[in-house]
Assembly symmetry: C2
Homo-oligomer: 311 residues x 2
């Protein structure tokens, strides 16, 4: 076999490294993670825009209250003075009954009259808000499609956005599928978790999962237990999604529903008494962070070793 | 004169209250404040979108670096695979020379290949980013127009966006025009100011004014003094804008330029010695907030009253 020259070997190495990078991104999960993060960030931006639009539009029509960002933005685009007619308003907010009251309020408004330049600026801002809302809707379509394709089991147990957010927090499907259930349960609650570990505050019971109605809107006493049940089954579902790629979620869902039913029927555990609580808290408090506890360490030392005044 | 009935009086009162509200918003400054706040918030949102787009697009074309949000978004809209041609790329980023290198990089990319659904989602997000950028540009046009109209003097001394931001921080032109120069100088530096008052950190030297190139890019040693000179003249300019509505900014600008020239020519004052600094710091520290100083008070007391071990 002829020996390769250094140049040839270098070329091969480079090609193989490139191939490695290419295959690392071959799964669609990375696109889903990006889309989900874009969705979450854009939702925040959109809420800011909605608040600003409410305030800005409120100079001209302080009487008008709109709870939906989309209706408000559409209304601001078409009605910027007293020239709007009822049909166009109904068209913009999609509610005939409300259009009449909006129209009447607009006709007798005590707000400021717009100049042409103000109108242009306000309409442009409202249009941008509208465009952001419609982009969010389209991103959601993609997220639903991709999450169902990549994680059919996890999506079946919860919903597409919860599954996609768990994935984006974990970083990759492999990491998510090999996480323990307790970690999946607390994904998204990192801040509360580290506050608990460092300062001994109450431990969090759920992270992203709280957004799922079956967990978030359950009674306070059982939310934590329901979240644990969901996390356990989600873990199994995610392993099926990543490893076997078989659909087992209908059976999982059945068992999960039974467990949740049992939790709902069972009485809440009695709360631990004050003394016990204190002991658990002390045991969990780490030893190495006294500097960050705002004089806590000093107080503790003082309490244990009382000052001897008279020798 | 016939006595008015209660009903008639009530009607009159209501009408007068409505008129009062209407006249309170009769100045265009409120629209300018809203537009400026919208501009500032949307700039933040746009930066988030740009960062996210860089990361998302980077999965497909990791080799491509774009420093302008607009070029990146335009590129992401037209080039989502290997089908793009050089002319369209040049059209999108507006740079023939760079288009060639971008095209070559795209042809030999090691990034992921897009599926149709990913393409749709990414293009939609890029379009939204593009729309946000163009809305910002149009908001800026309005801000420049309205700021020049309402505050010709202040705008002449600094620029339209600085004047508008000062106005939005103050809340109304009347309040801004009647503020002392030291307050105008620190508008926008509230956080640093209160940190100084509460915890004795270094006092801030400028707020919004730092964004003005003549102040922000001056030498460290003279920035504070230049900011003070600007704030003083701005105060006079704002009073002219609000009260007399005469244009006096050209004279103000001449005096201001002379002052700034003098500051630039003069050597910086010698720094106070360590001992003096300590004294000033102590005098300024307030007395009533020891609880917030993280054990500072206790340490101080311990130092003053040493523990007597042997009686």
């Amino acid at each position: 076999m002829p020996k390769e020259t250094f140049e040839e070997m270098r070329e091969k190495m480079l090609a193989s490294a490139k191939q490695g990078i290419k295959s690392a991104y071959s799964s669609e999960e990375y696109a889903l993670i990006q889309a989900m993060n874009a969705y979450l960030e854009t939702t925040k931006s959109m809420n800011l825009m909605y608040e600003r639009l409410t305030e800005w539009y409120g100079i001209y029509f302080p009487e008008i209250r709109m709870t939906s960002p989309k209706s408000l933005a559409s209304l601001a685009v078409i009605m910027t003075g007293k020239d709007a007619d009822q049909a166009r308003i109904a068209d913009a907010i999609g509610d005939e009954g409300k259009a009449k009251s909006v129209y009447e309020k607009a006709m007798s408004t005590i707000g400021r009259e717009m100049t042409d330049n103000e109108r242009k600026a306000l309409i442009r801002f409202a249009e941008m808000t509208n465009d952001t809302i419609s982009a969010l809707e389209e991103l959601e379509v993609y997220i639903k499609y991709a999450a169902t394709k990549l994680m059919p089991n996890a999506t079946y147990l919860t919903d597409e956005k919860i599954a996609a957010e768990l994935l984006s927090k974990a970083g990759s499907l492999e990491r998510l599928a090999t996480m323990p259930a307790s970690t999946v349960q607390l994904l998204g609650a990192e801040k509360a978790l580290f506050k608990h570990i460092k300062f001994g505050s109450k431990p969090p019971k759920y992270g992203v999962l709280f957004k799922f109605p079956a967990i978030g809107s359950a009674g306070r006493e059982m939310r934590g237990r329901i979240a644990r049940a969901y996390a356990t089954k989600l873990c199994t579902a995610l392993k099926a999604d990543y490893f076997t790629k078989k659909f087992i979620a209908d059976q999982l869902k059945k068992t999960l529903d039974e467990t949740v039913e049992r939790i709902r029927a069972s009485p809440p555990k009695p709360k631990p008494q004050a003394g016990q609580q204190e002991r658990r808290f002390d045991r969990r408090r780490p030893q190495g962070h006294e500097g960050r506890q705002m004089g806590h360490g000093r107080q503790g030392r003082d309490r244990q070793r009382p000052r001897r005044r008279f020798n």
